[in-house]
Structure formats: C-alpha cells, structure tokens
C-alpha cells in the first residue's frame, strides 16, 4: 500500500520537475513560503496562546489571502489555461495581483494593532 503511495508521489514529482514552466515553479516556491509562514504562526498560537488575538488573526489572514491571490495568479498565467482566460493577459493578471495585494495589506495593517 505505502509502496504505491510512494511511487505515485515520486512519479508526480518527476512530472512536476520536467513539465512545469519555470515561471510557475517560481510562483510555487512563493506559495510554499507563504504556507510555511502561516503554519508557523498557527503553531505559535497553539503552543503559547492567542494573546494578542487580533495580531494573530491579521497575520494568519495575510498568509491565507496572499496564498489565494498567488494561486489565482498561477492559474491565470499558466499557458495551458490560456483558453479560459482569453481576455486576461499575464500582465493584466499580474496587475490584478498587485492591486488585490494592496487592498489586502491595507486591511491587514489596519487590523494588526
């Protein structure tokens, strides 16, 4: 059982390394970074306590929000999805990503206290 899981995972990693364009890998690295930051924040909250709660929320929401926006960017940039995003060029996707981040950061900084 575990054998098949391991083989599936290794196969997946191979596919990933070969067929994914570099741009997407850059974004994936960024996604991993965001996820780890969020997870570590959550770990802190579990271990030490929720004081100050607003700061924890703001930091966590920032991670979550950034992750979502980055995923959106990745989807929109992916050449394989070009058919679905005819009117949105990658530059446009990046501009949207920037703008959404501005709003997100404004809210996060407001809440961080």
């Amino acid at each position: 059982m575990s054998n098949s899981v391991i083989s599936v995972i290794s196969r997946f990693l191979e596919e990933y390394a070969s067929s994914t364009p570099n741009k997407l890998k850059v974004i994936d690295a960024y996604l991993l970074y965001i996820m780890m930051t969020g997870a570590l924040q959550f770990l802190y909250c579990l271990l030490v306590g929720t004081f100050p709660f607003n700061s924890f929320l703001s930091g966590f929401i920032s991670c979550v929000g950034s992750f979502i926006l980055a995923v959106c960017l990745r989807i929109q940039i992916n050449p394989q999805n070009k058919g679905e995003f005819l009117s949105i060029s990658p530059e446009r996707a990046f501009a949207d990503f920037q703008f959404a981040h501005t709003v997100l950061h404004l809210v996060v900084i407001n809440f961080i206290g």
Partner: protein, 626 residues
C-alpha cells in the same frame, strides 16, 4: 313621546338641582378689612383720591376728614382735562358737602367730548362727570355715540365702559341695544374647570363687568341674563385673590362686591360654620354665619335644615328644622336630637329673599362623644384548658395590682367593651391598639384588638406564636391600651397591667442591636482588569525568528530555480513603478506605526495612482516586447 320628554326633563332638572354650585372663594372679614386698608392709603394725586374715596364709599365707609379731602380735590383739579373733571366729580359726589365749581367752559368741554370720535373711556368720563355735577345731558346722543364706539372697537373694556355710561343716562333713552351687550359679553367669559368664570383680560375687567352689568340692570329694572351658576363662578373668580396689586384693582373688587350685595336681582349668599362644624355634649349648638359677599350678615334670612343624615345611611335624623338667630349667628341645637357619634351630611336652605343665589348648601358636620371602657377582663388561660381561667377585672384608669404570668403553656387574654359615655351605645373606634413595652430593653410591640360580631373587643397573646415579634426576650412588659378616633373627645392611653412573659429557647443576643440599616456598608474595592499574561520575551523572539525563516528558504529556492532580474529594463516607467511599489510598502509600515486610516488612504491614493499609471505603461511595454 311627550310623556318621555317630560319625564326626561324632570329627571334632568332634578339632577341639575342637586348639583347647584356654592361659592368656594369668598371674602372673610379679615379680607374686607384688608381691602379697606388698601383703599385708605393716603392719596398722592386726583386719580388715587378718586379710587380711595369712591372705593370706600362702596364698602359703606365714610372718609375720615372729608373737608381736607375736598380741598385736596379742588386744588388738584384741572378744568381743561375731562379725566380730571371725572375723578373730581365722582369723588366729590361720594363726600358729603363737597361742591366743585363748574364754569360754562367746563360744561361745554364735557358736552363736546360726547361724540363718536372720542374713546369710550372719554365718553364714560364726561357723561359721569356731567351726571355727578348735576348738568344736563342729551341721553340719545350719548347712546348713538356709544353704539358707534362699540361697533368700531369691539373689545371687552369698551363695552364695559359703555354699560357703565348707560347706567347714568335717563331711563327714557333707548338702552335696549346696550342692554343686549351684557349677554354677548357674558358669552365671552372663560369657564375654568366649572369653578371660575373670568375674562382673559383679568380680574379687574371681570369685576368691572359685574358692577357695570348690575348697575345697568338695576337702572332699567331688567334681570341680567346671568344664570345662578354663572354668578357663583364670577364670585369665585373675583374674590379668589386676597391681596391686590394696584389701587384700581382693589377699587374694582370693592365695586363688584357692593353691586353683588346690593342689587335688585341676584344676591349670592355665603354660608360658613363658625369654627369647626363639630358638635359634642359640651358644645351642642351648630353655629352658622350667613352673609353676603361683603361679609354683612343677612338678618332677614331664615335658615332651615332640609335634611340631616349620616354619611352611610340615607335615613334623615332631622327634617325641616329651623335655625334660630342669635347675635347675627344662626344656631341649632343638634344634640337635642340625640345623634350617635359620627359624620352627618346636612342640607341647609336659606330663604327669605327671592334674590338669594346659592342658597342651598351641603355641610359635613361631625358629632363627637366621650368613650367609656366597660368590663375590662384580663385572664391567663392554659393552652390545654385543664385549669380554668382566672379572670381579673380592672377599672379604668387604675392598674391591675398583680402582674400576670404567661409562659409557653399559657395564653394571655383580654376582653373589654367600648361604649358611649352618655348613651351607652357600643362604639368601634378606628384605632384600638394593645402595646407591650419592655421597660428594661425599651422594646415595644403593638397589636390590634378586634371586635367580634357583638362589638366585644378581644385580644389574645399566644407566647409561642408571637415570639418572633418579641425577639424571644423574656421579661416584664407593661401593657397599655391605646384608643383613638376622629369622633372621640377623649383618646385613651391606659396602663392596664404588667405581664411577665417567658419564652422558650432564649436565643436572644445579649444586647439589642439597633437595626443596621443606616450604618455605612463595607467598602467595595474596585478591581481593575488584570492585563493578560504574556509569554516570556525569549519565546516571542524565538518564534519571530522562526516565522521569518521561510523567507530565506524562498530566496534559496528562487536562486536554485534560476529566477533573476536580467530582463530589467531601465525605462522611466519601470523605475517609477518600482519606486512607487516600494513607497506603498513603506506607507504600510508608517500606517502601522503613526498614521490612521484616513491619512493612509490619502497618501495611498496619490502613490497608488502614480504606481498604477507607471505599472500600466511598464506592463504594456512588456506585452509589446513579448
């Protein structure tokens, strides 16, 4: 149908009759004396002299030094002024033997004032002056001038002055139209809660209206169109004020009082009891004072009790009993009918003159009596009633010689009867209390003694049942009987006996503590909100470093992937975009530390729009390139 109408009319008239008004406000003798004092003040000018002299004559009082007053009037007279002539003429008329010299010019001046162009006050003054000085005047001309004046100025004071003027004219003149004004004016009076009737112009106007209306009605010998209730309401309004602001106000009240006591049609009657309306054996006469509004006794009246009944029952004790007049006071010996003590409702009628108004009065009379206590029996009864009770009789006001002992097995009992001293009728006063007073501790407990169906009062003390009231403190208690009522002349406080009470389970505190209701309470300390426990700085710092560490990982990964900035074009919009972007991130940091949302939005709008434009340009260029 006609029968129904007649019947309803009869019922209505009966209902109305039972609700006839009686004056609630009237002048007492002290008020009349005060009015006289106000009018007797030394006068400074002709106007005040007029008010004083004429006002006092209305009250039936002659001025002390008539000659001096006459000289004063003559010296202050200004023959070229109608007003001055009016005051002088009226005042000299009130004084005996005072003649004002009149010249032809004066007469011509006064006659010329009687025209449509003069004010109502000027017409009134000239007509009164002419009449008082005995000069002839043309009544019909005056009437037409007044009518013209009334149609031009429709206010209350003008019409009142017209009424006053008309009462000085010859009786042959056509005064019908002016007489009708009384009714119109009466309709303009304001009814205040059914008790007062007055003009909104005030007390003076109302009082002047009354004197003018009655003066004119007497002059033409026609009853004024004022109903009895209206007359009483006017009396209430005019005589409710007992101190007057000005001489003219006092004068108007005096003339109103004089006209209400001396006219041919309506004379309001004031009935008041002399002292409290209370009768007892020592004071068997009910005394009533029957006067007119000037507090002058109406000796010609005959006063009759139509019915006297108790407040509860409707049966009349007295019916149609006359009062006898003695020294200007009407009295009736009510005790002769041997009434039981209590309150009685008297309905009194005053007859003797058809002019009397408000001559049916309802009075509440109290009959008091003295009470005697009979058959006061004290006993100590055993609870299981195995031993018969020992009864001791005590006579008022002595005290029982031996004290009574009662403990948990016994009850203490007391019975007595309360009777009227003279008639022997049983009484039930409002307050019959039994008070037990502990002499040592000062504690007292009060109980109520209740009568049974045969009006025999009983009081029983069960020591076990009542131990909470006594706080279970044993000892000698002095027993008092307290009795009182509004109709009793001799309230009683009688120390009947001493009772020694023994309580079981004596759980008494050693001293009686006064109720701690009003001592200061313990202070409440305010607890401020405790700040939350923070983790030690080491832990926080460690985790901060930990959270920031993935950034290093990111840089390493990007480096491995070969991400670079080799495509960085140095065009102005690119540089501007990156600077703008950096500025926005910097603004975020400044927002966290210094700014509030509004300031941030302001800066963000500026920087953001710049960055947007630059970025747009940059991305467009990039798109073109690729």
């Amino acid at each position: 149908m006609a029968h129904l109408c007649l019947f309803s009319l009869l019922v209505l008239s009966m209902v109305l009759k039972t609700q006839a008004l009686t004056p609630t406000h009237h002048l007492t003798t002290t008020d009349v004396a005060r009015l006289q004092a106000v009018l007797s003040q030394p006068f400074t000018d002709l106007k005040s002299a007029y008010y004083s002299v004429v006002g006092l004559s209305k009250l039936g009082i002659l001025v002390a030094d008539a000659d001096e007053t006459c000289q004063f009037i003559k010296s202050n007279l200004d023959p070229s002024s109608v007003e001055s002539l009016f005051y002088a003429a009226e005042a000299s008329q009130a004084l005996s033997g005072c003649e004002i010299p009149v010249s032809n010019d004066t007469r011509d001046l006064l006659l010329a004032t009687v025209s449509e162009d003069s004010t109502a006050s000027q017409i009134h003054q000239s007509v009164s002056a002419l009449s008082s000085l005995g000069l002839p005047l043309a009544s019909q001309e005056v009437v037409s001038a007044l009518k013209a004046r009334i149609s031009k100025e429709d206010n209350v004071l003008t019409i009142i002055l017209a009424l006053q003027t008309a009462s000085r004219l010859s009786q042959q003149a056509e005064l019908g139209d002016i007489l009708e004004e009384i009714e119109d004016l009466a309709a303009r009076l304001d009814d205040l809660s059914g008790v007062y009737l007055q003009f909104e112009e005030g007390l003076e106007a109302t009082a002047l209206f009354v004197s003018a209306a009655y003066a004119l009605s007497d002059h033409v010998d026609m009853e004024p169109p004022l109903k009895e209730d209206q007359v009483i309401q006017l009396v209430n309004s005019i005589f409710s004020k007992k101190s007057w602001d000005s001489l003219s106000e006092a004068f108007s009240v005096a003339s109103a009082a004089e006209s209400l006591s001396n006219n041919r049609f309506h004379v309001p009657v004031i009935v008041s009891a002399q002292g409290p309306a209370a009768i007892s054996h020592s004071q068997p006469f009910l005394r009533l004072q029957v006067t007119d509004v000037l507090c002058q006794p109406l000796s010609s009246a005959s006063v009759l009790v139509e019915s006297a009944s108790t407040s509860t029952s409707k049966s009349a004790i007295l019916s149609q009993a006359p009062f006898t007049l003695r020294e200007e006071v009407f009295e009736l010996n009510f005790m002769a009918s041997q009434p039981a003590s209590g309150y009685y409702q008297f309905s009194v009628a005053i007859a003797g003159d058809s002019r009397f108004v408000a001559n049916h009065v309802e009075l509440k009379v109290k009959v008091s009596t003295r009470v005697a206590i009979n058959n006061m029996d004290l006993s100590v009864v055993d609870k299981d009633q195995s031993i018969g009770p020992k009864t001791t009789r005590v006579e008022y006001p002595t005290k029982a010689k031996a004290s009574f002992m009662a403990d948990s097995h016994q009850n203490f009992a007391m019975t007595f009867q309360l009777v009227d001293e003279t008639t022997g009728v049983e009484l039930t006063p409002h307050q019959t209390f039994v008070r037990l007073h502990n002499q040592k501790t000062g504690q007292e407990v009060v109980f109520v003694a209740e009568p049974d169906s045969k009006n025999l009062y009983k009081f029983e003390l069960d020591t076990t049942e009542r131990k909470t009231e006594f706080d279970s403190i044993s000892g000698t208690y002095a027993l008092y009987l307290m009795m009182g009522d509004a109709t009793l002349e001799n309230p009683i406080l009688w120390n009947v006996a001493d009772v020694v009470l023994k309580f079981l389970d004596e759980e008494t505190p050693s001293t009686i503590q006064a109720k701690t209701l009003y001592t200061p309470k313990p202070e409440i300390q305010h607890l401020f909100r405790e700040p939350e426990k923070k983790p030690p700085t080491v832990v926080s710092n460690a985790f901060t470093a930990l959270v920031l560490s993935p950034f290093l990982l990111l840089l390493i990964l990007w480096f491995k992937l070969g991400a670079n900035i080799s495509n960085f074009t140095l065009s102005p919009c690119t540089i501007l975009f990156h600077i703008g972007h950096a500025a926005m991130l910097g603004l975020m940091y400044v927002y966290w530390t210094h700014l509030n949302m509004f300031q941030t939005m302001k800066y963000l709008a500026i920087i953001g729009s710049l960055t947007f434009l630059a970025g747009n340009r940059m991305l467009a260029q990039k798109a073109v390139k690729s």
